[in-house]
Amino acid sequence: MNYKSDVMSTGTVTTPVKTKAPGEGLFSAKNRKLIYDPLNDNNPITVQVLGICSALAVTVKMKPSIVMAISVVVVCACSNLIISMIRNSIPNRVRIIVQLTVVAGMVIIVDQFLKAFVFDVSKQLSVFVGLIITNCIIMGRLEAYAMSNKPWPSFLDGIGNGLGYGLILIIVSIVRELFGSGELMGTRIIPESVYDMGYFNNSLVIMPPMALIIVGVIIWIQRSRNRKLIESK
């Protein structure tokens, strides 16, 4: 189903781009759909179930999750853009290696920036920034979308998918930080008086398995509200 929907969305988007009338807006309905779609109907985490590993690892606190989300948006959008620009000259036999090299280059650049400007967060994220390279969302978008579409729609597609990933990351991290440490962005939310009344931080929420459970709950809620996602028997 996922595969099908991918092909479908690729198909519906490429046709109008080719026959695009001169002067069609940069944010036409089709282009806007590239950003909205991954946020809900085609979310990389909850619908395509990609990129779960890093979603479990970095969502204990909100701050690293936000930084991770931004990093993935930047890497996904830029590598989509670059691959799309050179898509017609990439030799078919080495295309995966070319994609990988571009993604790896982008990730290293992002990592260098994090080390220079948000050092403490970069330390918390440690290897997971490097592991963006192996995030299947990015390679998936390059292969499924950027290789066959023009630069601008590809760029938007990258932003959309990065945001779709980041959105889930941030939701999970809000739940985990709030119930795991009683804080949000490092500021205490649950007042001391509640603790005095016998409330405890739930340490299970800090553990990686809980992130999986939260993602599961998000998938459940999303499917119960979004009829399109329910498979026909």
């Binding site: 990439i90 030799p91 080495v94 090299t101 571009v102 280059g105």
Partner: protein, 238 residues
């Protein structure tokens, strides 16, 4: 020339590698000063952690100025050396390498003197090998040059959940109050003991289960590095 021909594939690949390499080097060089500054601040924070001062990233520099009253450079006889480098700028790895090439008499050992709550604490940087990469840290001893006031440990790439646990407060707190000399004044260092040890053991702490190599690395690191300071300890023992 068709884009899928061998020649085009080769040309494209080599061209791409060069372009990416240039991009990476430009970024690395441009950001190096910012990163170097962060690493300095991080080092100050680690030093302060060993004396239980929790410095935030922003005020680490000020707190370092306030608490670290003196930086000392020692030679292998325990004498203070007044040279051009400060203790902070000594590259411990280079100094350790000198021992391997038989240049022990040229080795320099950094020491930081901290003044906290009316007590003088002596902070010693240590460096050793873990399972996957280097481990390092700072150990603070009290004025008797024997009792451990606190340690802070770091690592490059130990296994999360196993070796990486040396970075946790739980493990590091075990070191507080341990002794590095036994009653007769013999140097024994503090050992990380596999299988657990009685908390009253003055020279041993409980190892992290499943992290044998890292634990042995920590033991070796303290033993070897502190060993270099014995002449100084003996001289300045009150």
């Amino acid at each position: 020339m068709h884009k899928d021909s061998n020649k085009a594939t080769l040309l494209f690949s080599s061209g791409m590698v060069v372009v990416i390499a240039i991009m990476l080097s430009v970024t690395a060089i441009a950001l190096a000063p910012y990163q170097a500054k962060n690493i300095r601040i991080e080092k100050m924070r680690n030093i302060l952690t060993s004396v239980s001062i929790d410095a935030k990233f922003k005020d680490a520099e000020n707190l370092f100025e306030k608490y670290i009253v003196k930086q000392v450079v020692l030679n292998n006889k325990g004498e203070e050396v007044s040279g051009s480098t400060t203790a902070f700028d000594i590259d411990l790895k280079k100094e350790m390498d000198k021992a391997k090439t038989g240049n022990q008499d040229k080795q320099l050992f950094p020491l930081f003197v901290c003044r906290k709550e009316g007590k003088s604490l002596y902070i010693i940087p240590v460096r050793g090998k873990g399972l996957w990469g280097p481990i390092w840290g700072y150990i603070a001893v009290e004025g008797d040059m024997n009792t451990v006031y606190g340690v802070s440990l770091g690592h490059k790439s130990e296994t999360p959940g196993l070796g990486a646990e040396i970075e946790t407060e739980k493990f590091q707190d075990e070191f507080t109050g341990k002794k590095i000399f036994d009653e007769s004044g013999k140097f024994v260092s503090v050992k990380v003991i596999k299988g657990g040890t009685d908390p009253s053991n003055p020279h041993g702490v409980d190892a992290v289960s499943g992290a044998t190599v890292t634990s042995d690395g920590v033991t070796e690191m303290f033993e070897r590095t502190l060993g270099n300071y014995i002449p100084y300890f003996k001289k300045s023992k009150q």
